[in-house]
């Protein structure tokens, strides 16, 4: 906890700080001397007693001498919070807390799947409690297969669909009283909208027509789509998304398709109407799913099947399934990448690993580690770095799992003077995890958290379709969620340090966004043997 800044400066310097070896140049000494001047300025009554000009000159000379001496003998004031070993805060036991009934075995929501003759799949997740119908068209044709064409195609469809003009397209959505959302990623394009139940058939027809016969003839719309995507990226960068991109480029490496997960600006500009049409003709045959969740009226299912079956034939299995990809090897030397941001009032930190996890157990263990360390409000990092030490407002961690790799990432933002201590704290907790198994009470809490979250995230039709999409992307289904629940129920404490020793032994990829010059000075005091690489922008 930081009481106030004055105390911080006076007492919380890193133990690694010591007297400077070289006296600074006059200019630099001057800038460093400001706190010293304030501390040593003569009191007013002394000044009023000074008499003749010669006496004044003598006093000033003496003062100057003291000042220079002070500048040469004192450590330049690099503001840096002290580092500390990782601490685990006690688990609280509350005697009067009512008992909770045990979770029953996880019972996945109702789901019906229809494999259609044209290769498409229709998945229904009905919910009698939902007053809406959500319809999604999911095509396994993302950036991996089609590069920037996938992103531009998705954006054009959002803007104009199969209508003559964007205005006409928006009019259709106005009539549906709905909004089309589009997501494009490495593996998939997802088109999604929600309507009141009586408009479900019309929505399905609209999406089908859009996909069968998109308007890819307008140069204006192409230009607008490219502009929108670039603006989105700038917007994300403005809000700090740039350091996330840099982290991915470094962690996955240039050879891995996730190494540049965001839309590449150069590739974006290279997309033409011709390349789009070519891509679309190919994407139209990629694996296609229709996912309908919510108030699914039984009497309409047969007609929906007919609607979808009219779509031309699609591949039953995604072409990227079964691909392997190699992530960048972990460095043997600690390297800190500094993304320069002039005048940033906060320092943003991302620290973690890209992991080629292929089996479910490893993925589930990764998720458990991320929660142990980074769960909001009760993870180890929150308890130690935020609540006990006041180093951060938003520290956390997550394990993101994808078909070709996963990432275990710890992140947060902090004040500039806390930068080194914050990174030191994150690393200390990672090391602690690989050395000591958690206690059984902590593991009980962790198991309860993981299993409970699964149940909470299956409450609504939207959540169910999101969960289904996520597990299906990895090649699983509802049964996978049940197995995950059983795995976590039995998760032994030793599994976490075992995972850490297997996967987290190399140096993590560390990206820090802030004033690079100031940060490097501070970080070198705590990590003198690390390599520092400055980045002024992210490609």
């Amino acid at each position: 906890m930081i009481a106030n800044k004055t105390q911080l400066r006076a007492t919380s310097l890193s133990p690694n700080l010591g007297p400077s070896k070289d006296c600074l140049s006059w200019e630099r000494a001057c800038s460093r001397m400001v706190p010293i001047l304030r501390a040593s300025s003569l009191p007013q009554e002394t000044l009023t007693r000074i008499g003749s000009p010669i006496a004044i000159l003598k006093h000033l000379t003496f003062l100057l001498f003291i000042i220079v001496l002070a500048a040469c003998s004192h450590q330049p004031t690099i503001l840096a919070t002290a580092t500390e070993p990782a601490q685990l805060l006690p688990l609280h036991v509350v005697a009067d807390l009512p008992l909770m009934t045990a979770y029953p075995a996880l019972s996945p929501p109702e789901l019906h799947q229809h494999q259609l003759a044209n290769g498409a799949t229709l998945t229904l997740i009905p919910s009698t409690r939902a007053p809406y119908v959500q319809v999604q068209l999911i095509v396994d044709a993302g950036r991996l297969l089609f590069g920037a064409n996938a992103d531009v195609l998705a954006e054009i469809l959002r803007l104009t669909g199969d209508a003559e003009t964007p205005a006409a397209w928006q009019q259709r959505w106005r009539e549906l009283a709905a909004t089309l959302t589009v997501r494009s990623g490495p593996h998939r394009l997802i088109f999604s909208a929600e309507v009141l139940p009586n408009n479900a058939k019309q929505l399905l027809n609209t999406l089908r027509d859009m996909w069968q016969n998109p308007n890819l003839d307008s140069a204006n719309v192409l230009a607008q789509a490219q502009r929108n995507l670039r603006v989105q990226q700038h917007e994300q960068d403005l809000l700090g998304g740039d350091y996330g991109r840099l982290w991915q480029q470094l962690a996955y490496g240039p050879a891995h398709p996730y190494g540049s997960n965001a839309v590449n600006r150069v590739a974006l500009q290279a997309v033409t109407l011709s390349s789009l049409r070519q891509s679309w003709q190919q994407t139209a045959t990629e694996k296609q799913q229709w996912l309908i969740a919510g108030a699914v009226p039984n009497e309409q299912i047969a007609s929906w099947r007919t609607t979808i079956a009219h779509v031309p034939g699609t591949t039953p299995v995604a072409r990227w399934r079964g691909q392997q990809a190699v992530v960048a090897s972990a460095s043997t030397r600690m390297t800190i990448h500094l993304l320069h941001a002039e005048s940033a009032v906060q320092v943003n930190v991302m620290l973690g690993f890209a992991l080629p996890l292929q089996d479910w157990s490893a993925r589930w263990t990764c998720a458990a580690i991320a929660d142990l360390l980074g769960m909001s409000f009760s993870g180890r990092l929150f308890a130690d770095l935020r609540e006990r030490r006041g180093l951060s407002y938003d520290v956390g961690g997550h394990c993101s799992v994808a078909p070709l790799a996963s990432e275990l990432l710890l992140s947060g933002s902090t004040r500039p003077e806390h930068g080194a201590a914050f990174i030191h704290g994150l690393l200390a907790h990672l090391r602690l995890l690989s050395v000591h198994a958690a206690t059984e009470p902590e593991m009980q809490r962790l198991r309860g958290a993981l299993r409970g979250q699964t149940r909470v995230q299956l409450e609504t039709a939207r959540q169910r379709s999101r969960q289904f999409n996520a597990v299906e992307l990895l090649g699983g289904d509802w049964r996978t969620l049940v197995e995950q629940d059983e795995f976590w129920q039995q998760l032994p404490a030793q599994a976490l340090p075992d995972f850490a020793r297997q996967w987290l032994q190399g140096e993590p990829v560390i990206v820090v966004r802030g004033d690079a010059g100031e940060l490097e000075q501070q970080l070198r005091l705590v990590f003198p043997d690390a390599q520092y690489i400055r980045h002024d922008e992210v490609p």
Binding site: M1, D96, R129, A130, Y132, V133, T179, P297, S413
Partner: protein
């Protein structure tokens, strides 16, 4: 805690969403062929709302606490939402930020809960929680699997009845709030300057300072002052507890009586001052931020509180003109090649009313052109308000969002809790009926009254060299500007 400093619910889906439940298959409805006086979507929503109202149960404890129970045996979760009618507008001089700071401190332990215990216990059952302070109220919400309902009720009751503060906790959370201020305000271009400018326009009203408060007042906060704040404002007779989801009514009723009756008001209550409504005024201003990469134009119109007779018509105008990709302003500016990007501000003032729109111009477009088109767009709306068919489409879109949360106990409890604490009643049914009544003439009158007069226009400007670059781009032939724009992007 992590939260929005304005009253935008942290539950992203539910900005204006409300509840009915799914009886979709049983209600016939055709869109686009509505009779002039009835939109089928609204009728559908009202019909589904009846089901919810049938299970609603209200009670009041001896300490005055209002309790609403919304049982749903088909749900798998339970949600507990507690709202207290205290926000930034209730803060006295020297207390700015106290409502929000105290909200943070509510998670720092109580008589039977050590600091940190609450988070551990809720997370330990897979639950999630947060809180939110705005100008008028503070709401605390938690959701977890239904099996943990007894724990949630007990934990919530504990911290409301007997929060424990000390100097260390206060200093710790002041530091956290300052970090939040840096993250959400000072690190975002225009956020501080824009918010403060807008709030100065509300001087003389109760909405004249940021919810996060001032660093000076926060630094001077002490445990005693905050406890005094708690006793004045956190009173059961003014607060609302809502529980929604799967639970046994009899068991929960008994537990609430036992656990929540321990919360007693102490000392004199804060005087509830009538809301001072600022008069609407015209404002034109410029703000510069060295971090801004491009100019933008922000429009704001002071409208009406959510319970005002014109609120439904204004909601439909926002639906038509300001919201999402279909927004008329957006489509108009795009069709004239003026718009690079548009956005909405994270501001919701339910007891005041504020509509807003932010436009980022293309390279060749000037801010003046955008302003001209926006004004023309509202004049056209006033001259040619939407007909019954378009009105029904707008109502359908709004209704769909309003009733979507009926399947989510947390969303539903949140809406109910906020309605009760602000308006002392459930308002979803009223809101739907008010929508049904809106016709073209109403839209015409409302657009003239609120959108053609007394608007606020803020120019959000980058540093001088970027402003001059932009001027040059506006002066160049359009094709040159567009080519340069593409390169810059």
């Amino acid at each position: 805690m992590k939260q929005q400093h304005f009253a935008l619910p942290a539950l992203a889906i539910a900005v204006a969403a409300f509840a009915g439940t799914a009886l979709a298959a049983t209600t016939e409805m055709k869109i686009g062929s509505a009779p002039n006086d009835s939109c089928p979507a609204v009728d559908y929503a009202l019909a589904t709302l009846d089901r919810v109202d049938a299970v609603r149960e209200s009670l009041q404890l001896d300490n005055g606490l209002t309790v609403i129970l919304l049982a749903d045996q088909d749900a798998s979760t339970v949600a507990v939402v507690t709202s207290v009618p205290v926000g930034a507008r209730d803060e006295q001089d020297g207390e700015s930020g106290y409502a929000h700071l105290f909200e943070h401190l509510m998670f720092k332990g109580s008589a039977l809960l050590a600091d940190g215990a609450y988070g551990q216990l809720i997370n330990g059952v897979g639950g999630s929680f947060n809180a939110e302070t705005d100008f008028d109220r503070t709401s605390y919400y938690v959701t977890a699997p239904a099996e943990s309902v007894s724990q949630l009720i007990w934990l919530e009751a504990q911290r409301f009845a007997s929060p424990e503060l000390n100097t260390n906790k206060v200093h710790n959370q002041v530091a956290a709030v300052l970090e939040e201020m840096a993250l959400r305000i000072d690190n975002v271009p225009f956020m501080r300057s824009g918010s403060e400018l807008l709030l100065t326009q509300l001087q003389g009203s109760d909405y004249d300072h940021l919810v996060l408060g001032s660093a000076t007042d926060l630094a001077a906060a002490t445990a005693d002052k905050l406890l005094s704040f708690y006793h004045r404002h956190y009173r059961p007779e003014r607060s609302v507890l809502v529980i929604a989801g799967r639970f046994d009514l009899a068991t929960v009723r008994a537990q609430i009586q036992r656990d929540w009756s321990l919360w007693h008001a102490t000392g004199p209550a804060a005087i509830v001052t009538p809301l001072q409504q600022p008069s609407a005024r015209t404002l034109r201003a410029e703000l510069m931020d060295a971090r801004a990469p491009w100019p933008a134009l922000a429009f704001a119109w002071q409208t009406v509180p959510d319970d005002h007779p014109d609120a439904a018509a204004i909601a439909l105008i926002e639906e038509l003109m300001l919201r999402g990709d279909q927004a008329r302003l957006r489509q108009r500016l795009l069709s004239r090649q003026l718009l690079l990007h548009s956005a909405e501000l994270p501001i919701h003032l339910p007891r005041l009313g504020l509509a807003h729109f932010v436009a980022v111009p293309r390279a060749a477009a000037s801010l003046a052109e955008i302003e001209t088109e926006v004004n023309a767009s509202f004049r056209e709306l006033s001259d040619q308000p939407p007909d019954a068919v378009l009105l029904c489409e707008l109502k359908t879109a709004r209704v769909r969002r309003l009733i979507a949360v009926s399947e989510a106990p947390l969303m539903f409890a949140y809406r109910e809790s906020v309605d009760q604490v602000l308006w002392q009643q459930a308002r979803l049914g009223q809101e739907l009926r008010a929508l049904q009544q809106v016709d073209s003439e109403h839209i015409r009158r409302v657009s003239q009254l609120y959108f053609l007069q007394n608007g606020m226009v803020l120019k959000l400007l980058p540093p001088w060299y970027l402003r001059w670059t932009k001027r040059l781009l506006e002066w160049l032939p359009t094709s040159w500007s567009e080519a340069l724009e593409a390169r810059v992007l």
